[in-house]
Symmetry: C2
Subunit: 211 residues, 2 copies
């Protein structure tokens, strides 16, 4: 509510706006069919103005995917990695990741398929970041498994299914309807936890705080 | 193993081959960037030969989506709709649908997004069929809810999540690896059932036959 200028957040807001608008257009029309001029027009700026931020269409795609991974790092990994109890860490990461995924009609989250349009070095960088996040989720499940708290399920199957349960939400959820994003995220994470964990290994976790 | 000719299955095989090859190309390149000539070349036939089966690219897309829905009807809905116990029906439908979804690298199952490329009347026909299938899954969950066997979860959230757990499998599963499609389908359906159903309402179902 302060009137003082904060340059960093403003730059971040501009980055978010460009990434989300571009992601939505690319998702609707396909990467090949979307031009830099189209995106500039949708943002209400000139093509030259957009080139102030990005050097070309592939660079923009890389920027959108980096933006998505930055959000996951800042809003999912950093706030949850120090949660000691792996069940609570899993719950929090599912809810927090779902929040990002359904934001702005899920435009950024649903662009992952377009990774094929990136030049190999850029593609490799994004894939390494995706892989690190996959391992973060998998390690949490492995910890539950080691403690005998996981049902009989393959860790790879469990990890992909957890990520799918998060990333499916933007495919059907619409803001402003009967359900809130938070309501959906909590219900889906509860379904996952009840499905993954042995019932006798739960309950005692209930006292932990949901942030 | 009989040497006798069976025209109907052969025609069906041809239809499946055309639909799967075209679906894979459209998925890789995007609908706009894929031409009928490209698809004919990939099938090893002439463009005229392909026009023997379809009248154009939009008709082909409609054909692929109808093929997908035909498979769901024949291999999921028809064999499971008469299963009286809703838990067993849900398990069977998840396993059977996953089998179709991961077939041929999931090309057909993953083309649903391209529905936007269909002319409105064709799009409406496919959407009505998708909606009927959604209702089939939702009705099964509603039956479990009415019997007090479902955990506290919104039926819409539960239905979309069940469908997402099935349709996510082709996004990461690859045939010929450490896990079989059947193994993955069973594990994912068990995760869903354990997550959706109250534990005290289960167990007695265990005697039912898995087909």
């Amino acid at each position: 509510m302060s009137a003082r200028r904060q340059p960093a957040p403003r730059l971040n807001n501009r980055r978010a706006e460009i990434c989300r608008t571009a992601a939505q257009m690319i998702r609707e029309r396909g990467f090949d069919a979307t031009s830099v001029s189209d995106i500039a027009r949708a943002l209400g700026i000139t093509k030259a103005g957009l080139y102030h931020y990005i050097s070309g269409k592939e660079a923009l795609l890389f920027e959108i995917m980096s933006f998505g991974m930055d959000q996951i790092d800042a809003e999912v990994v950093v706030p949850t990695r120090s949660i000691r109890d792996p069940e609570e860490r899993l719950r929090q990461l599912m809810i927090r990741h779902a929040r990002i995924a359904t934001r702005a009609q899920g435009a950024v989250a649903q662009l992952a398929d377009e990774i094929r349009a990136l030049p190999p070095p850029a593609r490799k960088k994004i894939k390494l970041r995706m892989r690190a996040y996959f391992d973060f989720v998998r390690d949490t499940l492995a910890e539950l498994h080691a403690a005998g708290r996981l049902r009989d399920i393959d860790l790879t199957v469990a990890t992909f299914t957890v990520l799918g349960m998060i990333l499916w939400q933007p495919r059907w959820f619409r803001q402003g309807g009967r359900l809130t994003d938070e309501h959906v995220a909590v219900q889906v994470s509860e379904l996952a936890l009840a499905g993954l964990l042995r019932p006798q290994a739960r309950a005692r976790q209930r006292g932990l705080r949901i942030v």
